[in-house]
Symmetry: C2
Subunit: 339 residues, 2 copies
């Protein structure tokens, strides 16, 4: 290891005490201007860097937060992370990223490593396989935790999500407004609340518009192009294929569009399509695909704000639990625009 320069080295060079050096470095009011300048220039000369490790050990604050997401390289999650980072950096916080790979065991491990690292807070979106939440409930007594997007209902944990129910409702309603009655839904993994909520929104929108649910029109999918293609094949084997598709995933929606095109079924004239997440590609297609935007940047920024509030209020001994619900944004594009 390279031996690092400490305040002690500076104090020796200047023949003053380490305490004074520390104070000068921290711009303490009761240190003479002259000493401050002396210390600062000596620090520069010796190429001194502060050891935040020692600082943190002393203060009990690391100015670091952890984020646990299933995967970092998805448009949605990386945008949320960016939002958190940009909101927190000006406050002197650093961000540690972990991936759970949708595996609850890895999630547990990451969580405990973050606790070991003494992070001042943890942002997380649970994995698909997270059913038992003991590890999270346990962690929450150690450090504030904030769920974003994929949450679990745990007392004392703040959450920042979008209104997936409303999103599902609006998307479905929009398709109905285009004159469609045979609206089907490509259903996401029900182990996650978000997909259940989108589904519920779909169901209620049908009901409110006097449309009976056709169970053949609900097809479970993974978020992939292939599953969209498969689902479409299944649907067009039915006696009465649909005239509208609300997919809980943009990738599946893309698969739908590809398969329909291959079969010379016209979008939106024969079938309207809307996806979910507003992935970049949806707007770039020759036939742009409608989608629901989850405003990940805002979600990240608000999550960060909730954390900062928590930190402040906690100093005055108050413990809070915030539930922020953001509004989904419909982006209506060619794939569902008949009028």
């Amino acid at each position: 290891m390279k031996k690092s320069v400490t305040i002690y080295d500076i104090s020796k060079k200047l023949n003053i005490s380490a305490a004074t050096v520390s104070r000068a470095l921290n711009n303490h009011p009761k240190i003479s201007q002259k000493t401050k300048e002396l210390v600062l220039s000596a620090a520069k000369e010796l190429n001194y860097i502060q050891n935040t490790l020692a600082q943190s050990l002393k203060s009990g604050k690391t100015n670091r937060v952890g984020i646990i997401v299933p995967y970092i390289n998805s448009s949605f999650f990386s945008s949320v992370i960016r939002g958190i980072e940009e909101e927190l950096t000006p406050h002197g916080y650093h961000v540690i990223i972990c991936q759970s790979h949708e595996d609850v065991n890895l999630e547990k491990k990451q969580l405990s490593t973050l606790l070991n690292a003494q992070v001042d807070g943890i942002f997380m979106s649970v994995s698909k396989t997270t059913e038992d939440t003991k590890h999270i409930e346990n962690a929450k007594s150690k450090t504030p935790i904030i769920f974003f997007d994929r949450k679990k209902d745990i007392a004392g944990i703040s959450t920042v999500v979008i209104d997936d129910y409303k999103a599902g409702y609006l998307a479905t309603e929009h398709l109905i407004e285009q004159g469609c009655r045979k609206v089907c839904h490509l259903l996401g993994d029900l182990r996650l609340e978000i997909y259940q909520n989108r589904y519920n929104g779909y169901l209620d929108a049908l009901k409110d518009n006097g449309i009976l649910l056709n169970k053949d029109y609900v097809i479970p999918i993974e978020s992939s192009v292939e599953d969209g293609i498969e689902a479409t094949k299944k649907l067009w084997k039915l006696a009465s294929p649909p005239d509208a598709i609300f997919s809980a995933s943009d990738y599946a929606a893309l698969g739908v569009c590809q398969e329909l095109r291959n079969n010379n079924i016209r979008i939106p004239q024969d079938v309207t399509v809307i996806g979910f997440s507003n992935e970049p590609f949806t707007q770039y297609m020759e036939l742009p695909i409608s989608s629901v935007d989850q405003t990940p940047d805002i979600m990240g920024k608000i999550s960060a704000q909730v954390f900062l509030e928590y930190i402040n209020e906690n100093f005055s001994g108050i413990s809070i639990e915030k539930k922020v619900v953001l509004n989904p944004q419909l982006y209506i594009r060619e794939s569902s625009k008949r009028k």
Copy 2:
């Protein structure tokens, strides 16, 4: 602050010394099995978590690395980060992410904060505005630095990049092989080596095929759809518009395709197009766009390996400098496939 449980609490509870607790926790060979079990169960009972801060302060190793990228939410960078994370996590390392926003001043700040955090190494892709590299040369004496993709030539700093020259050469050659002679290039920001190299590859491919450079065919762009559209408009005002376009950016390539389609110019019959980066959307288009893949996952993993090697070799006092150059992968799709 919640007062945290320490080895001292365990030692008091068990009436043994803190040193013994520490050793038991670390599975020291000379501690009796009985004591170990006692300590472990007491630790569980008290909900003890190790303070890695103190550990790091003592050992001089934090098991943390930093990554500085212009933006985290781009397909390329988030994939590299994912690669690094996945390679390093099994070795017990954590990853701290910073964004420079293409701003050298922010980059400097991030760099120094990472140094303060005593990271064991730093991975970085320099910002566009990074000309003076004193801050990096300075940092390299404190901790190992590894450049990926966007590098600067600094002695003693290992780099992992793709062969952008070759990529530019191959892409251009491919267009020529399709029968095109009027090949133009949408040129990226020359402050970055990568774009200079792609350009050089383009130039040499022209030369080697006996094509004279037409300076009107080289148009500087930012990586955006709009710039691709603008460039196309300019090109088609020329007396002799091109019959092939090699864009240093997929987004600009997309703009090109959109603008050409709006003007009923056929791809690839009238014009062939190839982009760069293999952004997800390129393969999803109705007319899929050819592109050059930078294998970001591999780049991340190799960067991590270079770091790990460095850590190991450095223990034996050897200092190394590795220059890894990866092969670009051409993905030839409809937009440039004539044969």
